[in-house]
Amino acid sequence: MARTMVKKTFLTPLGKDNPVFVQILGICSTLAVTNKLANTMVMVLGVMFTTALSSWTISLFRKQIPTRIRMMVETLVIATYVIIVDIVLKAYNPEIWKQLGPYVGLIITNCIVMGRVEAFALQNKPSLSLIDGLASGMGYGYVLLIIAFVRELFGSGTIWGYQVLGAWWTKWAIMVMPPGGFFMLAIFIWIVHEGVLKEGKNG
């Protein structure tokens, strides 16, 4: 039982119950940080760290937390982990910290973190919750990285800051600007949903 349960917990957020393109959660940061691959990677790691550890912590204390104030407790736990991310990032990579601006702090209000804690961690064992949180973070992460890859490639002609497309490439400035984010995510959702419908199984 344990084995299949773990596997299922790990795989659902990556595919048929993906937080970004199925549940449409955490859209703010999906759009805001994906104009550069390096920034996106940092953001993804931050979200993975926060989701996994807040799910684990809440699950650890799930029997002690009174139901009435659980939202408050959850927010405090999440905020604590976000502060850790913020401080570490500021110390080791102030450049990216500056570019991400308020979006690191906004992991607190990222619906994915809160959603996993509410929907999963309150009912499940700590170890399982940790896996669920980590997998949700990864499900969110790979979508972001794909979008960031396309936006950076077309918008700046670079990948991870390195020039790949030569001078002949006319940069699609719109890709790194706000509308590009909206269009890219919409196209991504479209492709995934059409693909899912065609195959009739999880994508």
Binding site: I24, L25, G26, I27, C28, S29, L31, A32, M72, T75, L76, A79, T80, V82, I83, D86, I87, G101, P102, G105, L106, I108, T109, N110, C111, M114, I174, M177, P178, P179, G180, G181, F182, F183, L185, A186, I189, W190, I191, V192, H193, E194, L197
Partner: protein, 197 residues
Amino acid sequence: MGNFLFPLAVFFAAIFTDNILLTNYLGMCSFLAVSKELETSAGLGVAVTFVLALTTPLNWAVYHLVLVPFQLEYLRFIVFIIIIAAFVQLIEMIIERYSENLYFALGIFLPLITVNCAILGASLFIVIREYSFITSFFFGLGSGIGWFIAIMAMAGIRNKLRGAKIPIGLEGAGIALIIAGFMAMAFMGFSGMIQIS
């Protein structure tokens, strides 16, 4: 630009050129979920504007009068989110006590607002951009109005789309995001108007 006019410039910039939703992508979750109906959109828009205009200067005051003197800046995430949650709760109780009509109009939206990232985002922006108290108030108000305009426009367009044939994969969030993309492009047209930051 004179110091005296700066808050006003920030106010207009927050509505048009630096729209909190279309340029900074804040408050997307409730934007996508609620923008199906004009009436509910208006309700949420008013509630967001109201809370933004008041919590932003409040958070400014707490940050500069309490956190900075005690060198506790790193606690700002926790403090801001608690202040917002407490403030929303307080407003809900006051409205419930004094105005039944307003409570029924806004009441259901207030709990939604605590988790709206636009509110926390605005408070974080004023810290990063080092706005003054007055500027913070205008920034909060302007951001709220900008959010209100965006969600109203979106709800209107989605109303018109109801009978339209949309590819199945794009229904719901997909088409909403494309509309938002066009709106963002339209708002980019304002960008020559005011130049700040």
